[in-house]
């Protein structure tokens, strides 16, 4: 299956938009998770502009596909896309993290239209996503549930409880994506607490497992669309997306500390220049 070129171009533009907006939002908060947000920009853009069934301006549409942000600390990358879907006004972004604004560093489903589940405590999202697929099944709704997990998040035991449980309950509508950027706060994931062999682990838990370059939009799009369209599959599916932490800003790609940080004016300009400017 090959997607039309304009879909690819749209997704790539939205990924650029996500990065530029992430820089803008974090400058408002004066601290934020740059690198974790940048590594999943193409994944988010591909889901929201090429894969998920959504209705503009209707964040509560009961048949919409769901998205759970396991690595919720990268929410700054997602909020601009939700505003772009008219789930809330773009002016809300301008007050990101300011007193009383609904948008925090981690997403809150009660306050942010378009956030399908709150997150921040790693390891919960896959379980909650499983529950959504079970509830959807009982309600007779055939929506897909996408859970984006950090690779460090896979160190949480609850992820594997959910993995076991989802395969057992044949939750075929549950699709996990691992943002395999290979880094967590204290260093490389494989040094901090190794999670490999990842594909074998998921397969051993009964999942259909794939891997892809998480910045290659045509490949991501084709893979995810293929998984969603595969009616013969009875198991849940996972995509291990190999990514670069800090992707898109050279001085973040090469320096591990940018999991969390703040950019002074000149560095902000450098970052935006590499990303391709703000909006």
């Amino acid at each position: 299956m090959s997607a039309p070129a304009d879909t690819i171009a749209l997704i790539e533009e939205k990924a650029r938009f996500s990065r530029a907006e992430t820089v803008r939002l974090i400058q408002i908060a004066k601290v934020g998770h740059f690198a974790s947000s940048f590594s999943c920009a193409e994944i988010l853009a591909t889901l929201y502009y090429g894969v998920m069934r959504l209705r503009r301006g209707e964040p509560d549409w009961p048949d919409r596909d769901r998205f759970l942000f396991g690595k919720g600390h990268a929410a700054a990358a997602l909020y601009p896309l939700l505003a772009d879907w008219d789930f809330f006004g773009k002016d809300v972004l301008d007050e990101y993290t300011r007193l009383g604004n609904p948008l925090g560093d981690h997403p809150d489903m009660s306050r942010v239209p378009g956030i399908d589940f709150s997150s921040g405590s790693l390891g919960h999202a896959l379980s909650a996503g499983l529950g959504m697929t079970l509830g959807g099944r009982l309600a007779g709704r055939e929506f897909n549930v996408f859970a984006l997990l950090g690779d460090g998040e896979l160190q949480e035991g609850q992820v594997w409880e959910a993995a076991m449980s989802a395969a057992h309950h044949r939750a075929r509508r549950l699709i996990a994506i691992v943002d395999r950027n290979e880094h967590s706060l204290d260093g490389k994931v494989e040094d901090v607490m190794g999670v490999e062999p990842l594909l074998d682990k998921w397969r051993a838990f009964g999942w259909e497992a794939h891997e892809v370059d998480g910045h290659d939009v045509p490949a991501l799009l084709a893979l995810l669309q293929g998984i969603v369209a595969d009616d013969a599959r009875t198991s849940p599916a996972v995509v291990v997306a190999h990514t670069v932490k800090g992707k898109g800003v050279s001085f973040m790609e090469s320096e591990l500390g940018w999991h969390l940080g703040y950019l002074a004016a000149e560095d902000e300009e450098r970052a935006l220049a590499e990303i391709g400017g703000g909006e």
Binding site: D108, F117, G120, S127, A128, L134, G135, Q158, S165
Partner: protein
């Protein structure tokens, strides 16, 4: 294969519910509510024989989810189920639910305010010599500190049934603290239950016992004994610990010499703590004696012996009251 006939008195896991008749109210009420059109989903973690939910599974197999021995996954998944308009009831031992899953309850259930019902059964030290890992003498304190989470402790099977039925449309989450289904029955089927409204059994000018869950029956019996000794003793069933019925409590406080809370729980942060908060803020000068577990872990013993050891059976409660009254 036919199993060998057992001698009278033998039992095994699949018949254990026969010894816990009060627990039948859990599965049976949920299955009835489901029949009546409520979108009930029952979830358990490898304890369907202990909590009786297999009876729900028999009647609504497609609405029963077995999560195996992964309680945290179950609680988060129930939160996900609740987002789809279904009404999940999650049941496991109170120790595992309130302590092991505390963070999942806080972050995934209470924080978004989802209508998940958390059934912590075999609470307190009802699991006796199974030991501290299986006891829950901290769950009230923990659960009532979670914003927006109601905490309810029905005293017997009929009141459990009534509580489940009365709260089925409650928009927020609820923690039900129940025992092991062996409580002597106090109430008749169909007893009225109102969330947040304590049940006044009697008034007393010398002493008012404030009991919750498993201690209500013994408190009623202790009050009888003390009355025979000439004391004026009242009893209130504080089945809802949160939101606490401060109106009823303050009315009792104004007309009694001593309030005594009685709980199968640490006196720190439980019913005693909750009542103390209300009295102190109201500036009521009545004496309060908190009776329960005094900040210690439970010794090993059969439950009935433990109730006597911790003075939570009727003679024990009466003795504790006499001591507090200086008799």
């Amino acid at each position: 294969m036919k199993s060998a006939a057992l001698s009278e008195g033998s039992w095994h896991l699949h018949t254990v519910l026969d010894q816990s008749p009060g627990l039948r109210a859990l599965a049976d009420t949920l299955a009835d509510l489901c029949d009546e059109g409520h979108p009930i989903v029952a979830c358990t973690a490898d304890l369907k024989y202990s909590n009786g939910l297999f009876r729900f599974q028999e009647r609504h197999p497609e609405r029963f989810f077995q999560f195996g021995i992964s309680e945290q996954n179950m609680v988060s998944a129930a939160a996900g189920i609740a987002t789809t308009g279904q009404l999940p009831y999650v049941a496991t031992f109170a120790s595992f639910l309130a302590l092991l899953c505390c963070e999942q309850i806080r972050t995934d259930v209470a924080f978004p305010g989802l209508p998940v019902r958390l059934i912590g059964h075999h609470s307190g030290f009802t699991l006796g010599f199974y030991g501290t890992s299986h006891h829950a003498t901290e769950d009230i304190a923990i659960m009532r500190s979670l914003a927006g989470l109601a905490v309810v402790a029905p005293a017997d099977g009929p009141s459990l049934a009534a509580a489940l039925r009365a709260t089925v449309d409650h928009p927020g989450p609820i923690y039900f603290r129940i025992a092991r289904g062996r409580d002597p029955e106090i109430y008749r089927p169909g007893v009225e239950f109102q969330l947040g409204k304590a049940i006044m059994h009697s008034k007393g000018s010398d002493l008012t016992l404030l009991a919750t869950g498993s201690t209500v029956h013994a408190s009623l019996a202790a009050a009888e004994t003390l009355r025979e000794e000439g004391l004026s003793v009242g009893v209130i069933d504080v089945h809802t610990i949160k939101p606490l019925d401060s109106e009823t409590l303050l009315a009792a406080a104004g007309s009694t010499r001593l309030l005594m809370t009685v709980e199968e729980h640490n006196v720190l942060g439980g019913l005693g703590g909750a009542v103390a908060e209300v009295l102190t803020e109201a500036g009521i000068g009545v004496r309060l004696h908190r009776h329960g577990i005094r900040d210690e872990f439970i010794v090993i013993g059969p439950p009935t012996h433990l109730y006597a050891h911790y003075r939570l059976d009727a003679p024990g409660i009466a003795a504790e009251a006499r001591g507090a009254l200086g008799i």
